[in-house]
Amino acid sequence: MTTFIWLIPVLPLISFLINVLFNRVIPRRGIALLGVGSVALSALITIIAGIKFLSIPPAGGAYTTTIYTWLSTGGFTADIAFRMDALTLVFCFVITFVGALIHLYSVEFMKDDDGFARFFAYMNLFVSSMLILVLSNNLLLLYLGWEGVGLCSYLLIGFWYKDPANDYAARKAFIVTRIGDTFMIVGLFLLVITFGTLNIDTLLRQAPLVWSSGSPVAVIAALLLLGGALGKSAQLPLQTWLPDAMAGPSPVSALIHAATMVTAGVYLIARLNVLFILAPEVLAAIAIIGAATLLIAGFSALTQHDLKRVLAYSTISQIGYMFLALGVGAWSAAIFHFMIHAFFKALLFLGAGSIILLLHEEHDMHKMGGLRKKMPIVFLTFLIGGASLSALPLITAGFYSKDQILWFSLASGIGSKWLWLAGIAGALLTSLYTFRMIFLVFFGEAKTEPKHQPGPLMTIPLIILAALSLIGGFIELPHNLGPVHLFSRLLEPVFPALILSESHAPEWIIQVISALIAIGGIYLAYLLFNKKTLSSNVIEKSRLSHFFYQGWGFDWLYNKLFVLPLVWLSQIDKKDFIDKFYSSLAHAVNYSGTLLSRTQNGKLRWYVMVMVAGLILLLTIMLNL
C-alpha cells in the first residue's frame, strides 16, 4: 500500500503534462476523458487506500513513502516524501472525490468554451498541487503545494482573461494570499532555525521538548504560520480577495474557492496542532478571528445581489466556523465541518453555476425567480444543499457538523459563551441568507427563462453531492443522540484530546437552541422574501445594508491604507537620481543620433564634399607624420 500512494498526486500531474504538451492533437473528448479520468483514478486509489487504512491500521498511524531526496545541504534535508494519516486521508478523499465530480460537471459546463483544454490543464494541476499539499511529510513540500494551488487559483480566476475585471480579481487574490504566504515562509525559516528540520513528524515531537507553553518564540512561530492560514482561507483581515475570486468559472469556485484550497489554512493549523497548543494566545486569537469572520461575512452575504457572491461570503463565514472550532481545540469537529462543507458548498456552487449558465450569464438574484418548476433537479439539490448549509436539524449533514462546533465552542475548556453566542448569531444569519437566496431564485414569479435543462453530466454530480450533504452527517452523531463516532474515532490518533470545561449547560439545550435558530432563520426568510409580510427594506435598501454589501468597507480601507500610498510613493519615486542617470544617458544617445542623422540629407554633392574633406584631412595628418 505504501508504495502506491504517490500515484494519487502524480496521476493528475501526468494528465496535466499530457494536456499541456499535446492539447493541439487530442480531441475534446480525449481531453475530457484525460482530465476527469485522472482525478477519478486518484479518487479510486484514495478510496482503496482508505479501506485498507481502516481495515488494517498501519504502524504509527500513517503510510509513508519517500520518492526522492529533494535537497540535502548543511544538515538540512527535505525529501519528496508522502505521508498519509487519518487527517490526510479525509482531505485526500474530499479533494479527489469532490474534485472528480466537479471535473465531470465541467465537461458539460465548459463544452462551448474555447479554453476547454486549458481549463482542464489548470484544474488537473490544481488537484495535483492540492494533493501534494496535504500528502507531503515536510513543510517545504507542503509549501510547494501551497504555492501551486495559489498559482492555479490565480490562473483560474483570470480564466476569462479578456475581461480586465477578471484579471484584476485574479491579481487581487494572488497578491492578498501572497501577503499571508510571506508570513508563512518566514515562519518556516524560524522553524528551520530552531529545529533544523521541516519534517512535520519530527517537528511535532520536538516542539514540546524545546518550547515551553506560551514561550515568545512559539507564539511568534504560531502567529507567522497563522498569517499564511488566514491568507489562504480568506479570514479576517485577509478575506477581501474571495468575493472577487468569483470572476472565475463556477466549477472553479466550487472546487478551489469552496471545497478545497480555501480550507488549506484549516489543514495547516490542524496538521501543526502541537505548535498552536504551545501558543495558547494564538489559539484564542484563532477562535476570535473565526467568530468575527463568520459574523462579518454572514452580514455581507445577507445583502449581496450576485448569487455567487452570496456563496463566496457564505464560504468565508463557514471557514470562520472551522477556525472557531480549531481555536477552541475541537480539531476533529473542524475537519468534520470541512468535509461536510465541501459537499454542500460544492453542490451549491455547481447548482449556482447551472443556473447562471442556463439563464444567459445572469448573476443578479433579483432578476431570477420562479425557477422551482423550470429546473426541478437543480431546485431540489440546491434546496438540500441550502438546508445543509443552514443546518436544518436531524436530516441534514450540516446540522451534525455545525452543532458539534457550537457545542464545543461553549463546552471546551478554552471556549466561552461569547464565542458560542457569535456562532449562534452566525447560524441565524446563515439560514437567513441561504433561504433569502433560495426564495429569490426559485420562488416568486419567473423573470428569466432558462435556455434548456442541464444535461446528465451536470445533474449527476449534483445528485451525488446532494445525497452526501444529507447522509454525510450520520457518521458522527452528537454524544447524546447515538453511539456513532466513526469520524472522531478515525481522527483520534492525529489530534490531542479535547478537555471539556466542568460547568456548562447540558448538551441537549444547546442543540435545541441551535435547531430553533436554524428553523427560525428559515421562517424569517420565508416571511421576508416569500410572503413579504415583513418588509425586507432593511436588508435590501438601507445604508447599513449598503455598508455590508461593500464587505464592511475593507476594500475601501485597504485601498486608502496600502494601495494609494504605494501608488503615490512609486509616483514620486519615478524620478529619483538613479532613474535620472539612466534617462539622461538615453537622452544623450538620442540627441547625438539626431545630430548625426542630419548628415544624411540625401544630397549627392554634399556626400562627395564630405568625402573630399575627409580625404584632405587624412592626407594632412599623414603628411605631418
Partner: protein
C-alpha cells in the same frame, strides 16, 4: 625625343584631377558629374602610365588598360541609371534626387 620632367607630369595629372573634382562638386547636371569622374579616373590612369615610362616597366600600361575597362563598365551602368532617372523624374539635376535622406532628422531642410 624630348623628355618632360617628372614634376611637370605629376603637376599636369594633379591639375587634371582637380578640374575633375571641382567639376564634380560644382556641377548639378548628373551627366557632367559623370564626365568629371571620367576626368579624374583618366588623370589617375595617367600617373600610372607616367610611372611605367619613368621606371621602364610595363605594369603602368597594364594598369591603364584595367582602369579603362573599369571606367567603361562604370560609365555604361552610370548612363543606364541616368537614363532611368530621366525617364522617371524628367530631370538631370542631382540635387533634386534626395529620396535617400533621413526624413526624420532633415524635416526642416
Amino acid at each position: 625625343m624630348m623628355t618632360v620632367p617628372m614634376e611637370t607630369q605629376i603637376l599636369f595629372a594633379g591639375v587634371l584631377f582637380l578640374i575633375g573634382l571641382v567639376g564634380l562638386l560644382v556641377r548639378r547636371n548628373i551627366i557632367f558629374m559623370l564626365m568629371s569622374i571620367e576626368l579624374m579616373l583618366n588623370s589617375a590612369a595617367m600617373v600610372f602610365v607616367m610611372g611605367g615610362a619613368h621606371w621602364g616597366h610595363a605594369d603602368g600600361q597594364v594598369m591603364f588598360i584595367f582602369i579603362l575597362t573599369v571606367s567603361a563598365a562604370e560609365v555604361s551602368v552610370g548612363l543606364a541609371l541616368i537614363l532611368q532617372m530621366y525617364h522617371h523624374y524628367r530631370t538631370l539635376d542631382a540635387d533634386s534626387m534626395r529620396k535617400l535622406k533621413d526624413h526624420k532628422a532633415n524635416e526642416n531642410l
